[in-house]
Symmetry: C2
Subunit: 160 residues, 2 copies
């Protein structure tokens, strides 16, 4: 009976591991962090055509502390999450555009050793909770490197 | 000595009360809530000309719980805070606009009894931490009443 219990546990654990593996980004192995929707606001943004998106970057406690103390480069354990939605006209207030359908959730995880080849950052782009393909992930670091190397490869600043 | 201490305390308390009074909105007596910048995200928005603002609404725990459970009308104690900034082009990423100078912080506080005449909501509009004048506060409820009476006078929906 004990053996059977052990075997069942192992089977469940293996199954859980397989599920977890399928939910991580290619190249980087980054997953959607638990509870990120409850994290604190760093800043919103709006992106013009062709994407036409509203975006909001949230951060874990380590990220918020780093922003507040001006710590750049960000410390290991920093996680940034950018939520994005198509922006649509508010049906109730003409001058406003508001979030429509969610499009992507994008994650940056700081681990200077693990991601040494990409400025210390691992990237994950998720669509409907599933990681996008490898080709999309190959574009992340090149753009961050070209444009914001002087801010530890991070575009977003803390909104006052 | 005890009396002097007491008198000093009273003087300080009175002075504190006076300061607090000057930091509340006209008509409603609403103040900027402590720690609101740490509250959870409800949704971002963008507002067209002439304001040209990025906005983000945050909520206290009671607000977040109400949104998540679809509780309308919102319960007493709900507090919503809208942060607004001029939007400016990102100097680093052409298609994006990001927060520039902060403009207003606007607060809605639910207290069905205290604010019975205005749908149960008290309003506060703050500029550089100071409440705007009475004329501005006279416009709040009329607009919310005209446009979103069917959502307990609240424009913002929870961004998925």
């Amino acid at each position: 009976m004990k053996l059977r219990t052990l075997l069942t546990c192992c089977a469940l654990a293996a199954s859980g591991a397989a599920l977890a593996d399928s939910a991580v980004s290619p190249i980087y192995g980054v997953s959607l962090p638990d509870g990120y929707r409850h994290w604190e606001l760093i800043a919103p943004a709006v992106e013009a055509a062709p994407l036409n998106e509203l975006r909001t970057v949230l951060g874990n406690d380590k990220a918020i502390q780093a922003y507040q103390s001006g710590q750049v480069p960000f410390p290991d354990g920093t996680v940034l999450v950018k939520l994005a939605w198509k922006h649509v006209p508010s049906p109730e207030f003409d001058p406003a555009s508001i979030p429509g359908a969610a499009t992507t959730v994008q994650v940056m995880v700081k681990d200077a050793k693990r991601y040494a080849a990409t400025g210390g950052w691992g990237f994950g782009r998720f669509i409907n909770g599933k990681p996008a393909d490898e080709a999309q992930h190959q574009t992340c670091f090149a753009c961050h490197q070209a444009k914001v190397q002087n801010h530890d490869y991070v575009f977003t600043r803390f909104a006052p």
